[in-house]
Symmetry: C2
């Protein structure tokens, strides 16, 4: 083996030390040894040799970022997918992993974006900097479409480039001196952004949790709604419903409990409703359907999974003017300051698309996209049911949460990838409460979902 | 006066306490009393009455954000413009203020974005989540176009939704335990994002500076390049060249000094080159033209002022893999983690536009846009020269920096707005070193620039 190969191999292992749940990963399943360059995903890994001789600045690395145990979950899944493709270049890999939409955007929406693009070439149609908070027309349409009778006004709504980005901006607003709670399992951006901002302690390997975060365990036994009587008071409560990854949607009664819990504790709920339109049950679509929520809650949402805007980038966050810090200062005013200072508004073309989404034809078209993915969900649920697995989610969300009792999530992820060439997401990537589960995303072309289900049946029959 | 009017008036004054440089603002010129709602810019200001009785959470306001003395400069300028329009509804206001582009985007670029929009409606052309770091083709085109022979590689470049957004993400990477230096005056996002991250002390009203920031004074006397022998060592040095607002571009010799200064101190330079293509002189377009810069510098740039992308949103940041923290850890690896966790990539439509910008036709078209604004600059420079003002900038940047010795910037801003209906930007909004100056932006339709110059001549002849 040449020196170059040696270096490359050491680079791969050095990056593997940053894996999610490194202690629980079964190393035998990933004996992939490939030059790092060709992976083209993990980057900027200096070899020890380079670091010894290289010039270093005197700037200390941010200790909070150093606490992070892992690459962000979804790039890590993508990295493993890429490594698998290198090992099996001819494999027909099917991705039901990172929750990426696959179906074309309805023409009524893309036509509006194309029209806006062309208009930018004309004197009349050109626009430069928009309001950082979003165009008035988009804010108004969001208010009337989603919050019509809920007392949320146009100026409570901040249009953005997506919910994940807004979560980070909210964390910047909160700063390092707050405590936070999350559902366990949950979408990893909440915890990771909290670590980055310095709200947490070190990662504790024995429990696979960061110190100073309140993990609200959500299990089949509690119907994926935490037992609030056992939850410690925190400043911020991240709550995602319908939940990513479990697919569970909180009922009106549960959300009423949650709002009361926040009110009793003086906490702020950051409510992620990115999958609200996937609900089949009659649960609230917005936290603001719960009386009093405007005094304790922020809501963040997105066009990503409704209109296939994962690449176009458009979301929004509602910060009601009634929500106040302990000194009476409106949270919205600080969020507005952060949005104005750290962001410059969503693309005007994306906003034109958002406006088209909210037209009667656009709303109809989004419902059809959502309906298609819901059919996928049904197929996946039925497949795993027929194989005797306990399956959760699916009814109110585009995610199916499959239980592999007693097994390690990354092992199951690797088994499925190795034997069926299907990419899923390991449950433990969403928190220790996800251990023993696999999240199967329903985002995929129909033929791929059907083929994936055939392969699942071959593997587990 | 009704209660409502009373409330509205008190709301205006309460927001005025958050003005930039509040101590130096001449209150007589802004006796505007209008209902806040109709301003539609300042929002979420609770009245004292509301705050007394309203429910408050127990979450403390972020003390760092509370340090901010003012609304972010440009929304504040926009707010004053709106107030002026309410006072003079029929005034023909000309904006040479916030630096917003006005000319249509060349068709070769918008056509590519329209084509991408339409393609998103097709199975073959649809794309969802892209790499958070940007599309490979865009990164490659940026590397070859701007850094062809400078040793910057495709994977050193992170595509983003704009330089301002990247500055904030860089600040998140650095965290709260670094010290920073800025040119004084400079683009306010550097200082504000530093305050927000907790890198600074309180604002000191007597000197109009935040404690714990090193302000590097840039004046006509030192050719707008700081005397580095008097600058204290900091971890981070923000440096913008061509400078916003002074328009000064650092020479090769000066930048060589700067890189050596950083190297001697173990500092990291964040070099903002958003106006590089506006340079007429033979100064470096990139900090990476200076030998050794890759070990001490990050560069951030943008399509905003080249292609009129202020609303489309597309920029990039170069973090060379050679740049290391004191422990040898690559800065790029932490920036990559933040980009993946706090951001989801620029819009795929904007990226299609960026790729078109970097085609031979696109580059030619951008040069024409830039050339047009440079002609505007020349007209403005000649006007103020003819009026006997000392004028700086203009030669290498789309900003003209006009000296009003001994006068207060906000007073001059108000005088010009009140008497000519022209919006400029007060120099002191860029730091205490900008006091006594006005920044006049060259972004405008030709007839507006000509008309503005006629009005300047009427006012100051």
């Amino acid at each position: 083996m040449s020196l170059m190969n040696n270096l490359s191999t050491s680079m791969i292992s050095s990056s593997s030390s940053a894996f999610l749940a490194p202690t629980s990963f079964n190393a035998r399943t990933r004996s992939v040894s490939v030059p790092l360059k060709s992976l083209n995903i993990v980057k900027c890994v200096s070899t020890p040799q380079e670091q010894q001789t290289a010039y270093k600045t005197k700037v200390s690395r941010n200790a909070n970022i150093a606490k992070l145990q892992a690459g962000y979950l979804f790039p890590e899944v993508a990295r493993r997918r890429a490594a698998h493709l290198l090992k099996y270049p001819n494999a027909q890999v099917i991705s039901l992993g990172i929750g990426d939409t696959t179906e074309p955007i309805p023409d009524v929406i893309t036509s509006a974006m194309a029209k806006k693009s062309h208009a930018l070439s004309t004197l009349e149609g050109y626009s430069g900097y928009g309001a950082e908070q979003g165009e008035k027309a988009v804010r108004a349409a969001l208010a009337s479409t989603f919050y019509g009778n809920l007392g949320i006004e146009e100026d409570d709504i901040f249009v953005s480039d997506g919910a994940k980005c807004d979560i980070s901006r909210l964390q910047v607003v909160f700063g390092s001196n707050v405590t936070m709670a999350v559902q366990d399992p949950s979408y990893p951006a909440y915890v990771d952004s909290s670590v980055i901002m310095g709200q947490t302690g070190q990662f504790q390997k024995d429990v696979e949790k960061y110190a100073n975060i309140e993990y609200m365990r959500c299990t089949p036994e509690n119907g994926f709604f935490p037992d609030l009587s056992t939850v410690a008071r925190t400043d911020i409560i991240f709550f995602c419903s319908p939940n990513n990854p479990t697919g569970a949607a909180a009922t009106r009664e549960q959300l009423t409990q949650l709002v009361q819990f926040a009110k009793d504790n003086g906490s702020i709920i950051v409510y992620d409703s990115a999958y609200a339109l996937y609900m089949s049950d009659e649960n609230p679509r917005s936290i603001f359907e719960i009386p009093g929520a405007k005094e304790v809650a922020i809501e963040t949402a997105s066009f990503s999974k409704y209109a296939g805007f994962t690449g176009v980038r458009l979301g929004w966050t509602v910060v009601p003017k009634q929500l106040l810090f302990s000194d009476g200062f409106p949270v919205a005013k600080d969020f507005n300051r952060i949005v104005c200072t750290c962001f410059n508004g969503a693309s005007n073309i994306s906003q034109a698309g958002g406006l088209a989404c909210l037209s009667p034809e656009g709303l109809q078209a989004m419902q059809e996209v959502i309906g298609f993915y819901k059919e996928n969900t049904k197929i996946i649920v039925e497949t795993f049911n027929s194989l005797g697995f306990k399956v959760y989610g699916g009814q109110n969300a585009p995610y199916v949460w499959v239980h592999f009792p007693g097994r390690n999530s990354w092992d199951v992820f690797s088994e499925i990838l190795e034997k069926t060439h299907i990419v899923t997401t390991p449950g433990s990537g969403f928190g220790p409460g996800g251990e023993g589960f696999i999240r199967v995303s329903a985002f995929g072309h129909r033929e791929n979902v059907l083929e994936a289900c055939r392969r699942f049946k071959q593997l587990y029959n």
